[in-house]
């Protein structure tokens, strides 16, 4: 059983880490979560982004969701918006591609061209 004692341990660990965090210049990952996105598998994609970011201890990225982006046939879609306002739109994602985007784009700063909307269109 999950107990409050465990939650307390998590809380204490997290409090120690908070001071180390740098929240400036946040990059955003926005996953399309309308009916079209969800039916195409957006939920595991979003959770894969979060898991991989956590696994690699990346703190300056926010993962969030939005409604229909307008290209339902290309779902699941996610947009990566860096702090300088540059937007990259990734299409037809799956959890594996999401993990690769975390490593290549969000950590190493090189967009994964083959998954972008420009390649798909």
């Amino acid at each position: 059983m999950k107990s409050l004692a465990e939650l307390e341990a998590i809380r204490e660990r997290a409090l120690k880490e908070i001071n180390l965090r740098d929240n400036t210049g946040k990059t955003r990952v926005v996953v399309g979560m309308a009916t079209c996105g969800i039916a195409a598998g957006a939920r595991p994609v979003m959770n894969a982004f979060v898991e991989e970011l956590d696994k690699r201890n990346v703190q300056n990225v926010n993962v969030t969701m939005t409604g229909c982006i307008g290209a339902c046939r290309l779902e699941p879609i996610a947009e990566v918006i860096t702090s300088d306002g540059v937007k990259t739109t990734y299409v037809k994602l799956d959890p594996e591609k999401a993990r690769k985007i975390v490593v290549e784009h969000l950590i190493n700063g090189r967009p994964v061209e083959e998954y972008t909307i420009n390649e798909a269109e």
């Binding site: 939650l7 997290a14 409090l15 309308a34 009916t35 979060v50 898991e51 969030t64």
Partner: protein, 186 residues
């Protein structure tokens, strides 16, 4: 939409768009029915929209004029011999209720309710989610508001916290619906 957890994701998205600050989700097994209810304190809908909301050619999206979320959910409940209802009051909120005949071969499984809650809390941590499960065997309740109070200074979207909540929900589902619903052994 292959399971209830995906419909939940979809319907909750409407509540978020309606500006809700509290989303209550309940799943109850009673008298041969599985009853899903989601209520929010969002902006609500007026009568005119409410009457059209199960029509696929009504939608809140601005990118096109077809909305399949609610019509698909309604169909999914009715296919089992169950029913579907939305109540809404402008300025107060909306309640969506889907009743499934639990043993119908057409009833979709619960799916990963915990994964949906994970995604919802991560995307909108400021919203308070209240989850409850009930059957003749047991009941379970989790309010993220209480978890937040307990965390006091640590974000609820902390990954370990999220996983703790997800695990807690999974345990609750197994305890309440194990051996009650076909898809969960008890």
């Amino acid at each position: 939409m292959k399971d209830l957890s995906l419909h939940l994701m979809d319907i909750a998205q409407n509540s978020i768009a309606a500006g809700a600050t509290v989303i209550k989700i309940s799943l109850v097994s009673r008298d041969g029915f599985l009853i899903f209810r989601l209520s929010d304190n969002g902006c609500g809908m007026d009568k005119e929209i409410l009457e059209k909301v199960t029509d696929p050619f009504t939608t809140t999206r601005t990118t096109r004029e077809v909305g399949m979320g609610i019509p698909l959910f309604k169909l999914s409940a009715e296919m089992t011999g169950g029913s579907f209802e939305i109540k809404s009051h402008k300025g107060k909120g909306t309640t969506t209720e889907a009743r499934f005949v639990a043993d119908s071969i057409d009833r979709i499984p619960l799916g990963d309710i915990d994964e949906t809650l994970k995604a919802l809390i991560l995307a909108k941590p400021e919203i308070d989610y209240e989850i409850s499960f009930r059957s003749n065997k047991a009941q379970f309740e989790l309010k993220t508001e209480n978890v937040k109070k307990y965390l006091n200074g640590v974000s609820i979207s902390n990954f370990e916290v999220i996983n703790w909540i997800a695990e807690k929900i999974r345990e609750g589902m197994n305890e309440v619906f194990g051996g009650v619903l076909n898809e969960i052994s008890g």
